[in-house]
């Protein structure tokens, strides 16, 4: 079974600075998808960024970028120029390709605090 590990229960960063959230995963598969979701206090699950394992290029979405190291099974999220609205729980997740019905496997989350 696949597992996703987020080793940082909580992170704190000053507004406008950069923060990196860590994620590692365990799988014997070669084709899969990785995600970062944001969950603000409103409870809504918001997709931040997605990475396809067969793509070597790291995904980016505006201030959000990932460092995907397939051999190391590592998938970290970098948030640049942190803003107060970035404060939330962040979940790393895995989805096996071809396993559409299997759904997402989530890590336990990292609570990100933005200091004004």
């Amino acid at each position: 079974a696949q597992t996703v590990t987020q080793s940082q229960p909580e992170m704190s960063v000053q507004e406008a600075e950069t923060v990196t959230l860590s994620c590692t995963y365990d799988t014997s598969e070669s084709d899969y998808y990785l995600f970062w979701y944001k969950q603000p206090p409103s409870r809504q699950m918001i997709l931040v960024i997605r990475q396809e394992a067969y793509k070597q290029q790291n995904a980016t979405e505006n201030r959000f970028s990932v460092n995907f190291q397939k051999a190391a099974k590592s998938f970290s999220l970098k948030i640049s120029d942190s803003q107060l609205g970035d404060a939330a729980m962040y979940f790393c997740a895995y989805w096996l390709s071809g396993g559409g019905a299997d759904g997402l496997t989530f890590g336990k989350g990292t609570h990100l605090i933005i200091q004004p």
Partner: protein
């Protein structure tokens, strides 16, 4: 127009009761899911369902049952509610091959 909607948003009920949470998606997706988020914020899949296949996470008690009246709806029925069932339940949907899940806003269930 909300893509994936759940009702109710909040549900407080007594132990032993039977309750349902409704989910509807207007995205035309063919697969729907139920996830449970516990008090420690851990999210875990409970069910996935399309018109051909129901996959049940083996850890889910059989008091929980998904029911799909049609492709756009996947309701969650819970019998004989227990205190430990208190959690936030999320419905989600995805299109075949897309690997992108759209989530509802969640239902906070409190069993007293």
């Amino acid at each position: 127009d909300t893509a994936v909607s759940q009702t109710p948003k909040y549900l407080v009920t007594q132990m032993g009761n039977d309750k349902s949470i409704k989910c509807e998606q207007n995205l035309g997706h063919d697969t729907m899911y139920w996830y449970k988020q516990d008090s420690k914020k851990f999210l875990k899949i409970m069910f996935s369902y399309n018109n051909k296949e129901l996959i049940i996470n083996e850890t889910v008690p059989n008091r929980f049952s998904p029911k799909s009246p049609d492709k756009a709806h996947l309701n969650l029925h819970i019998n004989s509610l227990e205190l430990g069932d208190s959690a936030v339940y999320f419905c989600a949907s995805s299109a075949r091959g897309s690997y992108e899940a759209f989530f509802g806003q969640g239902t906070r269930l409190t069993v007293v």
